[in-house]
Amino acid sequence: MSPDFLYFIETVLNGLMSGVMYSLVALGFVLIFKASGIFNFAQGVMALFAALTLVGLLTGQVPFAHLIHAIFGVEAQHWGAGMPALLAVIGTMVVMIALAFLIERIVLKHLVNQEPIILFMATIGLAYFLEGLGDLMWGSDVKALDIGVPSGGSFWWEDVTREWAAEGSDYFGMYIDKLDVTAAIVAAVLVVALSVFSQYTRMGRALRAVADDHQAALSVGISLRTIWVIVWSIAGFVALVAGIMWGSKSGVQFSLSLIALKALPVLILGGFTSIPGAIVGGLIIGVGEKLAELYIGPLVGGAIENWFAYVVALVFLLYRPQGLFGDKIIERI
């Protein structure tokens, strides 16, 4: 095989991997949008908050350390050596569920039957609140997250791919990050689990019923409040997974919350209401922007990767606003 072709394959593979990372974020949006018609602007910040909490628990940080110091004058940064990864993940999940519960109690409960735009504004407020809360609890410094997810290239894979290249060509093997591969596997498991849950369980059916018709769901005795707590908890879990993957990759810091912006074109492409759509949309965006950078980039001076996704989204909005897999608008006359 020629090195050019191998470069192509490498780009596609890396595109697929980074696409999966986008999908992880997009999934959280889809879950909440489907169940309540709310576009949750805070999804990215939820991922950041989850990652911050996870790091805090892992390293044994004392939450609100600065606040405690300021008020009581007690200097307590650490309470010990931290806890094992699995325990920390479970602890973070408990925090996310508590958060979902509080959001329902404090915000959503009072906004039943309001316009979608009002709910959207509420989530913007929520995003800023969580951002501040995260800083206040765990500090605003950049943290490394390491719960033992494998990362870095694989020498074995580089050796294998070098042998594919033609004799004498200067190809040094393919670089695939193990972290990306792990993320892909995790995302696949997550999607299968979520699909099975929503398709075959009583609660999943109720979630889809609520997504279709709030009023009718109420009338058959489905409690919207319960459903919302569950949905936000699941979205919190997805945010945690996304936070772990992105945090391991690029550190836990404020910019983590901006991954939400990358999820937007993924959603428009895949459809706001489709879980498989979020995955396929992510893959297309990931591969698309990497390939565009490689082949079109040099013609226009590069840096296509940053805006390519948004242009694709724009085209989709013009010709297929419900996305590739979004619910068709059923209209009977």
């Binding site: 889809r208 279709d212 018709d213 009023q215 109420l218 059923i330």
Partner: protein, 278 residues
């Protein structure tokens, strides 16, 4: 003594009792101005009246779906099986055996017919086998639903959706179904078919019905008792037979006979009935 005895038995027999309820939307719009009615156990009671008379609001006040529309019962009492249910949420009412089938069907469009029916059993805790048995029972009443069990409800016909909505309510094992405008947008033949099933459900399963209808003719044919609402008030009530033969009802609601009157308001001879609490 004999009097108290009969009073007791009639109170026992009334599954649902509304006493002079008043409903206000958005804190300002008065929609129901004191509606009282009583639904005996095992009866089919019709709530009749024109558009905007307050039929749907009455039903929603009972099932408490009103809250989600910013409406509230501000006066009066709603008693189901001897228990005040005004403050209960809709899901608690469903658990207590009172479920509403909303106007315009409201099936879950993207769920299959069978999934729609299964959502009706959401509040039940008596196990998969019992639910499955009830699913079969619903299919035996509505064979058409069995044929379409795997199609998306959004793509089925209006009649099938109405059957689906009633079947879904049955899956909750209710004692009482509040049926809102079942005839809406359906062909006359289908309307008869649906009402026929209502009668069978009433006779065989012992389900009590309170139904709101504009189609007075059909409703009075199948109901045992009727209330006529106008502008948020009960203006007339009686058993179905006497209503069918009432001259005013004939004129205004059945379209038989009639000279110059245009509303109940203008009928001097008509004795308005009001029931006040205490």
């Amino acid at each position: 003594m004999a009097d108290t005895h009969t009073a007791e038995t009639s109170a026992e027999r009334a599954l649902l009792e509304l006493n002079n309820i008043e409903v206000i939307y958005n804190h300002v719009i008065l929609v129901l101005k004191g509606v009282s009615l009583s639904v005996p156990k095992g009866g089919i009671v019709a709530l009749l009246g024109a558009n905007g008379a307050g039929k749907t609001t009455t039903l929603k006040a009972i099932s408490n779906l009103l809250r989600a529309e910013r409406g509230d019962v501000t006066k009066g009492s709603i008693v189901l099986k001897g228990e005040h249910v005004h403050d209960l949420s809709p899901n608690e009412l469903v658990r207590r055996g009172c479920i509403q089938v909303m106007e315009g069907r409201h099936c879950f469009g993207h769920l299959s017919i069978e999934e729609n029916l299964l959502t009706g059993a959401y509040t039940r805790r008596d196990g998969g086998a019992a639910i499955k048995a009830d699913l079969e029972k619903v299919y035996s009443y509505f064979p058409r639903l069995r044929e379409r069990r795997s199609s998306q409800a959004g793509y089925t016909s209006g009649g099938e959706q109405q059957m689906c909505a009633i079947g879904r309510a049955l899956m909750a094992k209710p004692d009482m179904i509040l049926l809102d405008e079942p005839s809406m947008g359906l062909a006359p033949q289908l309307v008869e078919e649906i009402f026929e099933i209502v009668r069978q459900l009433n006779a065989n399963e012992g389900v009590t019905f309170l139904l709101a209808e504009q189609n007075t003719n059909v409703a009075l044919k199948y109901a045992t008792y009727g209330y006529i609402l106008e502008n948020g008030r009960v203006v007339l009530d009686g058993d179905a037979k006497s209503l069918r033969e009432n001259d005013d009802v004939k004129e205004f609601y059945l379209g038989i006979g009639g000279d110059s009157h245009s509303s109940f308001r203008n009928v001097k001879s008509y004795r308005r009935r009001k029931r006040w609490l205490n």
